[in-house]
Amino acid sequence: MSDATMTAARGNPALDLLRRYGIWVIAAAVMIVLPKIFTSGAALTTMCLMGIMIVFSLAYNMLLGQTGMLSFGHAVYYGLGGFLAVHAMNTIAAGKLAIPLPVVPLAGGAMGLIFGFIFGAVSTRRAGTVFAMISLGLGELIASLSLILRGFFGGEEGITANRTKMLTLWGVRFGPQIEVYYLIAAWCFACMIAMYAFTCTPLGRMCNAVRDNPERAEFVGYSTQMVRFITFCISGFFAGVAGGLAAINFELMNAVNISGAQSGVVLLMAYIGGIGHFVGPILGAVLVVLLQVFLSDLTGAWMLYFGLIFITMVMFAPGGMAGLIMLHLPLWRRGTLLQIVPSYAVMLVPVLMGLAGLVTLIETSHHQLVKAATDGPAMKLFGIAYNSNSLLPWIVALALMGGGLYLGKLWGPRMADAYSDAAHGQDSNKREAGK
C-alpha cells in the first residue's frame, strides 16, 4: 500500500500496468478457476463462505487496521444487512418485483450504511477504549433486540428466504450452489477493488494518519472524529453487503449472525490474517473459514484450538500471516529465501513435537471431560488407541511439550540468526552483538 508515485514515474509503462493490476487479474482468475478444481459440494460451500467473510473482514479492517478503531460489535452491520436482504428477497418474491437477485446485497449494504451512520454518529465521537466499549454495548443491545423484535429478526429460528423466487436474467435462477458461488465471487471481487481503492483516496490516507497520530492529524486540518465517522459508515456499508451475500448464500438469517460471537470471529479473522496489510484480512478469512470447516469436523474442542491460534498470533506474530509474509519479502528480493529453509525445517521438529503434545493433552482432556461419561475411557488419536484415564498418555503429552519447548528454546536463536543473515548479510550479527 506504499505510495507508488515515485516508482511509477520511471520504468516501462506496460510493466507498470502489470505490476499494478496484475495481482487483480490473478485474483480474478483464481476465483474463476477454483470451483473447477475443488468441485465437491462441501468445497463449494466453503468457498462461498470464504468470499462472504473476505468482504466482511476487509470491511472490519477499514476500522481496525487502517483507522485504529477496535470494534467489538461489527456483526451489527453484517447482521442487519443480512436480515434486510432476507426481507428484501421475500418482498421482491411476494410482489413479483422486477429486481434480480444480484442487486440484493446492495439492500444489505444500504442497511449497513444507514445504521453505520446512526451508531457511528454516537460511537466515533471518541476513539480508543471508549469507542471499543460503545461498540461492545451497541453490539449487545442489537443482539438482545434480535431476540425481542420477532417480526424483523424471527426470534431463535431466524427468517428464511428463497433466492430462486426472483426475477431470472438470462436463465440463471441461482438454484445450484455454483451459480451462487459466482455471484458471491463477483461481489467479493468488486468489494475488494473498491476497498483497496478506498485506501488510496485522501480519506483513506488520512485514516492511516489518524491511526498513527490523531493529534497531529487535527493540526493539518482534519477532524479525527469526521475521519472516523465517514470511514465507519463506509465500513458499515461493506459489512452490510457481506451480510446480504450471506443471506443469499444461506437463505436464512438468525440471531447468531448478529451476535457478539460473530463480531468476535471477524476480529479474529482480521487479526490472524494481519491488520497491517490490505491482504491480511483476506488471508485471515480464508484460513479461519478453513479451520471452522475442517477443525470442527475433526474435534469437538475446535474452539479451543481457534483461541490458541489467536493467542499464539498475538504473542509471536502480531503482524499476522501477512506480517510473516512481508517479513520474508526482502529475502525473496535478495534471493536468499532458500537459504533459510534448512534452519526453518529444523525448527519443525520442536514445533511438531510441541503441537503433538498439546493436541494429545487437549484431546485426552476433552475426551475425559466430555465423552468419557457416555462412551467410556477408550479413545483414539493419531491412529493410536488408548485409555484416557491411564497415566501414560498424560506423561507422553507433557514430555512432548516439554521436549518441544526445550528444543525450541535451544534452536530458536539459530533460526533467528539464519533469518537475519539472509535478510541483512553476514555482518549483521556482529553489529547486533556489538550493541
Partner: protein, 255 residues
Amino acid sequence: MTALGLHDVHKSFGITPIIRGVSLEVGKGERHAIIGPNGAGKSTLFHLISGRFPLTEGSIRLNGEDITGLKPYQINRRGLSRSFQVTNIFPKMTVFENVRCGVLWHLGYRYSFWHNTRKLKDANDRAMAILQQIGLADRAQLPASFLTYAEQRALEIGITIAGGAEVVMLDEPTAGMSRSETAHFVSLIRKVTEGRTLVMVEHDMGVVFDLADRISVLVYGQIIASDTPANIRNSKAVQEAYLGQALESHGEAEH
C-alpha cells in the same frame, strides 16, 4: 495589519495559573520570537493559540477573526499551522506521505473518497517540492520513524508548512541540534517562511537574534517586554529576568 492578536489571555491548570494575562500583536509578514526561561509557559501559549487547550480567559484573533475556542483543525483551516517541541509526526507512514497529509486539506481534497491520491498531481508535486526544500527528497519513501533526529525535526517543519498556512508557529525548531545542523536549519526556516508570518519559540539566542524582527520575553506567564532585537538586548528588565543568563551561556558555548 495584525496577523495574530492575543488579548489578555489567561490559562490555569487546575488552580495553578500558567499564563497570566498575555496580550500580543504579531504583524503580517513579521518574524516574531518568543523567549523565556524553562517553564515560563511558551509551549502552553502555543497550545492556546493553536487550539490544543481551551483558554481560561481572554481572546485570540487570527487575521482579525476571533478564533477563541475553535478546534485545532478549524484554526488550521483558517491559515495557522504549528510545529511541536517534541517531534509529532506520522511514524509509520512514509516521509512523502507525512508531508502530503499536510497538503491534502488545503488543496481542497478534504474527506474525499473519490480521488486517487496517486493521481493528485498538484498534491504530490507540492509534497515533493516541500521535501526538496527541507532536504528530505531522497528519504521520501522511507517510513518517517527511520529518520534521524535532525531529519525528523526537518520533517516536523515540512508538515507544518505544507498546507501553505499564512501564520507559521515553530516551537523550538532547533532544539537538540548540533551547531552545523542549527545553521542549516536557520537558513531553512528563513527560506520556507518567506512571505509568511512566523512565530517562534527558541532557546538559542544566536538563532533568535539572527531570525527575529521582534522578540517577546515571557517570564512566569507574563510578557515583560516585546520589542526589536536591539532594544531587547539592551533592556535592563530583560537582562535581569532572563537574557543575562541566556546570553552568557550562549557566549560560553561559543568559546
